[in-house]
């Protein structure tokens, strides 16, 4: 017994370099407190952003904000041009990105040989890391310059490129979670491979795919930089004309934040509150579902 204690003590001595156990306990306690404080420091800014956006933005949320376009000299008016722009460009981006991302992920997860799959997966990871402003330049070069027109479609494509790798990687992950026995059972029943994938594998992986797609959607809603040189922004309400410039909520916030007119700053806060409400709603709804599982 005594020997065991001695052995423990000597090991702890070597661990800490000091013989006083109290000091070790103090260090332990201090550092544990510090990590708690660090965790708080992460949460405080979230609270601060939410509180201020709510305090300044919610009062500015009005029917005018979402039904009226900008007015000259900042008198009255609203962000309808931006709301409608976001409502058009982001879904179109999703229509481009989600099917491509899911199909691409099917290839990587189900067919691709290991090396090819790695290359594709690697490129998806790289694409996630490419600063979005560079995606803006890329799309500008291919979809604005040749057509001699800033246009909403280019904006959608830029947003789609932001979404694509996110959708692809989350889809791939959820496909990997589908047990192989399901595939084998389906193939054994004589179902062709492509149907097996579409109706068995994809359906089983659907919740994960939806999660990824919704998160990508929310992310695209908040992107500004890729739109600067593509959709450009517009003071006009543009519904349905993808060949023309179009505004979006993030662009609206960016331009109105720098205005010297309080009414326009308030509109920026209102638009920020609107954007944040939607983005956080999607995030909370989607994450809350899968959260219990992930944190284990």
């Amino acid at each position: 017994m005594a020997a065991a204690v001695a052995a423990r003590a000597s090991i702890s001595d070597r661990l800490t370099g000091v013989s006083a156990g109290r000091r070790r306990t103090t260090v332990d306690r201090t550092m544990r407190t510090l990590s708690f404080v660090a965790a708080l420091l992460c949460v405080v800014p979230l609270g601060a952003v939410l509180v201020f956006v709510a305090a300044k933005g919610l009062p500015a949320l009005s029917l005018d904000l979402i039904t009226k376009g900008p007015k000259a000299l900042g008198i009255g008016g609203g962000a309808a041009n931006a709301v409608l722009g976001t409502l058009q460009m982001v879904p179109i981006a999703a229509l481009l990105a989600i099917p491509s991302g899911v199909l691409g992920a099917i290839y990587v997860a189900e067919f691709g040989d290991r090396r090819l799959a790695r290359i594709v997966r690697f490129c998806a990871d790289v694409l996630v890391g490419i600063p979005s402003i560079l995606i803006g330049i890329f799309v500008f070069t291919f979809l604005v310059l040749p057509f001699k027109q800033f246009n909403a479609f280019a904006g959608s494509v830029a947003l789609a490129i932001i979404m694509l790798p996110v959708v692809m990687r989350t889809t791939e992950e959820s496909l990997h979670l589908v047990p192989n026995s399901l595939r084998e059972a389906s193939l054994a029943l004589g179902v062709p491979m492509w149907r097996t994938v579409l109706s068995v594998v994809l359906r089983t992986g659907l919740p994960g795919i939806l999660t990824g797609s919704m998160l990508a959607f929310a992310r695209a809603m908040g992107e500004t930089a890729p739109l600067l040189f593509t959709a450009l922004g517009s003071r006009l309400i543009n519904v349905g004309n993808l060949g023309q410039p179009m505004d979006a909520l993030p662009l609206f916030i960016y331009t109105n934040a720098r205005e010297p007119i309080e009414a326009l700053n308030e509109q920026a806060w209102g638009a920020a509150a609107l954007l944040l409400l939607v983005v956080l709603f999607i995030n909370i709804a989607v994450r809350a579902r899968s959260f219990g599982r992930r944190i284990g």
């Binding site: 004309n241 993808l242 331009t255 720098r258 010297p260």
Partner: protein, 389 residues
């Protein structure tokens, strides 16, 4: 796919009946407020007014933020009179306007700095660009500084060398003797607050006007940063657009920046009275700019590319003023758009001029307005003039 939507309107026929209606638009019958345009061709041009196309047209424009507040008002009024014409003007700086029209990504550009020869050389081969002056404006120095008595200072006199000193970073506090000497009444109230300069971050006609002024009043500036749409600022923060600069100045104590007059008005910031060539301190105003423009009429060049009007003679002349331009291709590839563009510019040069004074811009002097209207006749589509003489 949808990209070419904008080109679909090419074949739209125009109803001549519509054109008659266009001439008698409500704006044309209102009494001009600015005496300068009372004899304008709106009254005398009679049947030869350019016709507004009958179908829906969207014009895209980009560029100068200097006249953006005026253009917002114009576009609103014009689109009320002609609901089928939508004009999308994105104010992203004169530099961006010149680039956009050069790359042909917009139907018209806007700039307060006339295009330089090198910029004109960069235009697509075989094209010719027209500079259509639309307005004049003053570049004023806005400031945001609380006095020793903690109340905002609202009146300030500055002269050329002092302004240059501030923007060179040589005058660094608000109670600098150079500033105090120009403001004996409030010298004791000038605080020791550091001066923070806010300048443009983007290529800007306002910057071109302002730095042309600085180069004229200070050799240090002329031999240092020089004049241009973008210069190497010795001090200060950048902000995009006239709106960004006024927002930036508003954002903190001790700041100073330069913007078009109306931006001072809408931001509620005071602007400095600047010493003019006659030694008088003049507050930026529409009249002060008109005086400057009238004094510089002889210097207006045949190709319209006028330099900023700096330090004009006259007691009431404001010393930092500039024309602002719409940049349009002489030959319009899209007939309908070209027609709408000519009609809009005509409206701007006639009825639009009456709006200017009330919102802090100066209408074009008569001879310049006439020259600009004449220039409009030279715009063609497929070789044929859009608005024949």
């Amino acid at each position: 796919m949808t990209i070419s939507l904008s080109k679909r309107m090419g074949a739209l026929a125009l109803a001549s009946a519509m054109a008659v209606g266009a001439c008698s638009s409500p704006a044309a019958t209102t009494t001009p407020t600015a005496a300068a345009v009372a004899t304008g061709p709106a009254a005398s041009a009679g049947p030869t007014t350019p016709q507004v196309p009958s179908g829906n047209v969207t014009l895209a424009g980009a560029g100068a933020t200097f006249p953006a507040l005026l253009y917002q008002v114009w576009i609103e009024k014009f689109s009320t009179a002609y609901p089928n014409v939508a004009i999308n003007y994105v104010a992203n700086g004169s530099g961006a306007g010149i680039t956009a029209i050069t790359q042909q990504t917009v139907d018209f550009g806007a700039s307060d700095a006339a295009m330089k020869d090198t910029e004109i050389a960069a235009l697509p081969a075989g094209t010719k660009i027209l500079h259509v002056p639309t307005a004049l404006g003053a570049v004023v120095l806005i400031f945001n500084v609380a006095g020793v008595d903690t109340k905002p200072i609202t009146k300030l006199n500055l002269d050329g060398p002092t302004i240059a000193g501030i923007f060179l970073g040589k005058i660094t506090t608000w109670n600098d003797p150079a500033i105090a000497a120009l403001n004996p009444d409030i010298a004791a109230n000038l605080p020791a607050t550091p001066i923070k300069v806010i300048h443009r971050a983007d290529g800007s006609g306002t910057t071109n006007t302002f730095t042309t002024y600085l180069s004229a009043v200070s050799d240090d500036w002329k031999n240092g940063p020089g004049a241009g749409k973008t210069v190497n600022w010795p001090t200060g923060d950048g902000a995009p657009g006239n709106d960004g600069v006024s927002g930036g100045v508003k954002g903190g104590d001790g700041r100073i920046g330069y913007v078009e007059l109306q931006y001072a008005v809408i931001s509620g910031l005071s602007s400095a009275a600047v010493k003019n060539a006659n030694g008088k301190f003049v507050q930026g105003s529409s009249d002060g700019v008109t005086a400057a423009a009238n004094g510089a009429l002889d210097a207006f060049p045949a190709d319209f590319r006028a330099a900023p009007i700096i330090n004009g003679a006259g007691d009431t002349t404001y010393p930092i003023a500039s024309y602002t331009y719409l940049l349009v291709y002489q030959d319009q590839t899209d007939a309908t758009k070209g027609q709408a563009l000519v009609a809009y510019i005509y409206w701007a040069l006639t009825d639009g001029q009456k709006e200017e004074k009330a919102i802090g811009y100066a209408p074009l002097p008569d001879p310049i307005q006439q020259k600009a209207l004449d220039e409009l006749h030279s715009i063609t589509t497929g070789g044929a003039p859009i608005w024949a003489k």
